[in-house]
């Protein structure tokens, strides 16, 4: 096959919040920058974010970055790296105000400042009382953010390759990254993007689970591609589940519904949260509510013919309240659960929402791997930011609104690092190996030539069901173990996928088969890492690591205060230390403590 070569100073894969923020930095510095995206930039998943972006501006209540840093470290259950967390929290005001200058229409206070709202896990004075830290643009925060960044990029002459799918990284024998191969969907042609710097900003892989709040595009391409190229994946056992996704569909029902008085009930109609969290009840934290729901289901008190969900009941609220205070919820329930929530409760299940782990980076956005005794040795020419990356600021559990902040801060810092490396002359255009496109071409040839193979849909469904059952909200040693071997079998099946349509042009079936390769890498990383981590921490909760006096919340700092690294090659694990030391010498480390709210 004919392979076209294109050369750029930098290629960025992904045009969501992280990719666009990084691209802006490069284009404004005059670098020739290509941005690849599977969809039009403003259709990236960042649009779905409604809640807001965190910054300790202190416009609505007193606040400072030290408090934000504390909340984030605690939220991460101490698995987050404190240098990166300090960096993110200190930079928050700068990147949010910058965005305001780019034209982002934030909600305003009466005196014209950015209005801020409270959000779970964010506090004043080291956990004392809730703080108003979330900056929003009505219920369109992510959408407004993406539009502001996109317009700015157009002005800066960023070159977009829309509806291009990156397939594989190009690496030389020294391990340096020289660009990517990509497929133009319109023609099916494969090109090489040869570059000095490659930045991954491909978003999360929430579609590895059967029940997911993520749109179909979140297939973890960057994460899977990196794994195939020999880059280890960090902390992939940590996934945040949202308690209330519509059963069967996954569509998110916001926390606001319980805030307005929504009640969770089991098959007997019992308000079961009274047993698990007598004070906060249905308003307890996300992980507590999710686990309680799963316990109800596992113990046979679930609803429906398969007893596989619980009910979110708002029938006691007045129709006016529902229409006025919870706009959109009624439509979601009618459309995806087939019930009018004014008259009947909504079936819900804990649903995969956010990927905490990813491609390991430092706070400068450089991808780092263990090499020659250094656990964090930068890979030449490779950078990553956003949900596909693990900086690691979210550790074992992300706080709401910290993800949009992550995109802005690390999108920008990865861009700044690339520009600095470019200007210092250390980013050279290295020679391409002769077989630069070989791996991608072979993958496509295999797919086209496959006879008597497996259906993509069937393999994906098997993966999703296995992950949901074996590595869900609440984890059990035997199920995890069984899940590891099941996933290995499914990964084998994924090597024999077959598609009926072999045409080159706009071949959605082929795209989905290629996406599946990436999902499988992520699913394997997740279940293998989860099986191995014999403690409970943040979002990773094991039945055999319960809350005891010696091990509060089941956390075992003596043995498990470390980051997981999973290698695709050999399906093997390694570990590296957590950085408990902040970036600045005068900032104190947040000491280990039990995570209670």
């Amino acid at each position: 096959m004919n392979v076209t070569k294109r050369t750029f100073d930098a290629v960025i894969v992904g045009a969501g919040g992280a990719g666009l923020r990084a691209a802006l930095q490069l284009s404004e510095a005059g670098m020739r920058t290509a941005v690849l995206s599977k969809v039009f930039p403003t259709r990236s998943h960042t649009v779905a974010a409604q809640g807001g972006v965190a910054a300790s501006l202190g416009n609505s209540t007193e606040d400072n970055w030290h408090w934000h840093m504390y909340d984030t470290v605690k939220g991460s259950d101490w698995l987050g790296d404190q240098d990166a967390i300090e960096f993110m929290c200190r930079k928050a005001n700068e990147v949010v105000i910058e965005l305001e200058h780019f034209g982002m229409p934030f909600d305003r206070t009466d005196n014209g400042k950015i209005y801020q709202r409270p959000f779970g896990g964010h506090s004043q004075n080291y956990g004392q009382s809730p703080v108003m830290r979330s900056c929003a643009a009505a219920d369109r925060t992510g959408h407004a953010m993406l539009h502001a960044l996109y317009q700015r990029n157009v002005r800066a002459n960023t070159q977009f390759f829309v509806e291009w799918m990156a397939l594989d990284l190009i690496r030389n024998s020294a391990g340096d990254i020289l660009g990517v191969t990509a497929m133009e969907m319109e023609t099916g042609e494969i090109s090489i993007f040869h570059s000095r710097a490659t930045v991954f900003a491909t978003g999360g892989a929430g579609r590895i689970y059967y029940s997911s709040t993520n749109a179909f595009i979140n297939t973890g391409d960057g994460v899977g591609i990196a794994a195939r190229a020999g880059i280890p994946l960090e902390d992939m056992e940590f996934w945040q589940f949202h308690p209330t996704g519509v059963a069967g569909a996954g569509v998110l029902i916001t926390e606001g519904v319980r805030g307005e008085g929504g009640i969770l009930r089991n098959a007997a109609g019992e308000r079961f949260m009274e047993r698990y969290a007598p004070n906060l009840k249905d308003l307890a934290s996300r992980d507590v509510v999710s686990r309680s729901m799963v316990t109800e289901i596992n113990e046979g008190r679930g609803c429906g013919p398969d007893k596989d969900h619980v009910m979110l009941d708002i029938t006691h609220l007045s129709p006016e309240t529902i229409m006025k205070r919870l706009p959109g919820i009624r439509e979601i329930a009618i459309q995806f659960a087939g019930v009018d929530p004014i008259k009947a409760p909504i079936p819900v299940v804990p649903t995969c929402h956010y990927q905490m782990g990813g491609i390991p980076t430092n706070y400068k956005g450089q991808v780092v791997v263990p090499k020659d005794g250094n656990p964090n040795s930068p890979v030449q020419g490779f950078y990553a930011a956003g949900e596909c990356a693990c900086a690691s600021v979210h550790g074992a559990n992300r706080l709401g609104t910290n993800s949009l902040l992550d995109l802005l801060v690390f999108g920008k810092s990865s861009g700044e690092t690339v520009v600095a490396d470019f200007k210092s002359g250390s980013l050279t255009l290295k020679d391409l190996p002769a077989d630069a496109a070989e791996a991608s071409l072979a993958r496509i040839a295999r797919l086209d030539g496959q006879k008597g193979g497996e259906g993509v849909h069937d393999v994906r469904l098997a993966m999703q069901r296995t992950m949901q059952k074996h590595a869900g909200v609440f984890r059990f040693a035997d199920l995890l173990k069984e899940g590891v071997s099941k996933m290995a079998e499914i990964a084998d099946r994924s090597k024999r996928t077959e598609i009926g349509d072999k045409s080159k042009v706009w071949n959605t079936a082929r795209i989905e088969a290629l996406e599946l390769d990436n999902l499988i890498e992520v699913a394997q990383a997740t279940i293998v890492s989860a099986e191995a981590r014999k403690e409970s921490r943040g979002a990773h909760v094991r039945d055999d690591a319960p809350d005891t006096a010696q091990r509060p919340n089941g956390r075992d700092d003596q043995n498990w205060l470390k980051h997981t690294l999973w290698y695709s090659q050999g399906n093997r694990l390694d570990y590296k230390p957590v950085n408990l030391k902040p970036m600045s010498p005068d900032v104190e480390s947040i000491a280990l403590a039990k995570r209670t709210y």
């Binding site: 969907m185 319109e186 179909f216 569509v251 998110l252 959109g328």
Partner: protein, 86 residues
Amino acid sequence: MEAKGDKAVINRGRLRWHASRHALLELDILFRRFLDEHFDRLDDSQLAVLEELLALEDLDLWEMICGRRECRDARWNGLVELLRAS
């Protein structure tokens, strides 16, 4: 004649991809059902309307399907109704 046929095939392929990946899960689910049940039967004028709908912002399209926002163009009503029923 053949060239025109090719063009039509390409156009369908492009619209199928556009219809299958959105920023919102809500739209992905509705469009998956719509693609399975209706897409192959759409005529040229319906395809033209679909193209216009897919050029809208996802959040606006979703609000239209929910009935919280009016269709700007009366020609859109039929497909929006089909999507809602998908």
